[in-house]
């Protein structure tokens, strides 16, 4: 492929199969504006039509395309090859901490189930359904909520966290991060319910602030800070006897 042999090429090792699998090596031409998703796509389109992977939006909005790239969990559609290749070498694995489906695709069900178990969803108050609650954009609560709200549910934090591997019941950084936005949502009718849901045995207190979540979140969110917030709030609630 490399035109006149001048272009560089990449050596790419890709995990094939499910839990029992192997690495398959490919040589992929290196392009200037190439992302890891492009590399994977190239392999599927031109080199091995059976390669499985997942993506949707192509631009970092859907959180479907996360994989492990040279050992780190990343969104592949927004990871420029040049920023991760080590001497022209790339190794791509499926996302850690998830059951594998095939090749680079994992089963994310557990991640969504935990989101549900963390009761990480808005609880409306019956009273106020017609207007818009007045919310000062500079209030502390709104700022806390805003700082954490733009999660795309990519599961990268979940893959980066050792607690998830050590304690399979642990709700994980993303679900807790979402719960924190709700605890700070002045419109939510059940802040205590949210705290209760995350203060269980595998909830926010299981987190040891490893901060793998925060250092890998492609949206630069800090689940660590959100979880710390939940720890504080539930601590206070416990002392007040509200839990």
């Amino acid at each position: 492929m490399a035109a006149a042999g001048t272009e560089k090429s990449l050596k790419v090792d890709i995990w094939r199969g499910d839990d029992d699998g192997y690495y398959q090596s490919f040589t992929v031409p290196h392009e200037t504006s190439q992302t890891i998703l492009d590399v994977v796509t190239y392999v599927q389109r031109k080199l091995d039509a059976t390669l499985s992977y997942r993506f949707a939006c192509r631009v970092g909005m859907c959180g479907s395309c996360a994989m492990t790239v040279n050992g780190r969990p990343r969104w592949t559609c927004r990871t420029h090859v040049d920023s991760v290749a080590e001497d022209g070498y790339i190794k791509i694995d499926p996302l850690r901490n998830f059951p594998r489906v095939k090749d680079l695709a994992v089963d994310m069900t557990v991640f969504f189930d935990k989101w549900r178990d963390a009761k990480a969803r808005f609880v409306p108050s019956e009273a106020d359904l017609d207007g818009f609650a007045q919310v000062d954009p500079d209030s502390r609560e709104r700022k806390e909520a805003s700082a954490a709200i733009e999660c795309i549910g990519c599961g990268i934090c979940y893959a980066a966290c050792d607690l998830v591997s050590w304690n399979p019941d642990y709700l994980g950084p993303a679900a807790l991060n979402r719960a924190w936005t709700l605890v700070n949502d002045v419109r939510d009718a059940d802040p205590n319910g949210h705290l209760k849901a995350v203060a269980g045995d595998a909830g926010c207190h299981a987190c040891h602030s490893q901060q793998g979540c925060t250092s890998h979140c492609p949206k630069s969110l800090s689940p660590t800070a959100s979880i710390a917030g939940l720890k504080r709030k539930s601590f206070a609630a416990l002392l007040k006897g509200a839990l």
Binding site: G200, H205, A206, F235
Partner: protein, 111 residues
Amino acid sequence: MSGRLELWLFVLQRLSAMVLAPLVLIHLVTMIYAVQGGLSAAEILSRTQANAIWPVLYGLFIVAVAIHGAIGLRSILREMTPLRDKGAGAVAVAFCALVLILGYRAVGAIA
């Protein structure tokens, strides 16, 4: 399971840590100061027996560290060894008891 155990353990561990921090600091500073002359039993005892504050501080330290260390060990065991809730809990309780017993003997000795 009450569902609140972890929360209580968290609270206890953080509170005990907050208690330990100044105590350890004091201990470290006195140790650094004390070892300058070289350690001896008499020297230790003369220092600790001179003021009733020492036994109190060390007594507090023992309680705090027994709780704190036990909870810490429990997480490590649960997370990094095949021991799960029960086993880790048992080890933690044993640790706690051991530290309390040995600790009280030691504090008793220096008082």
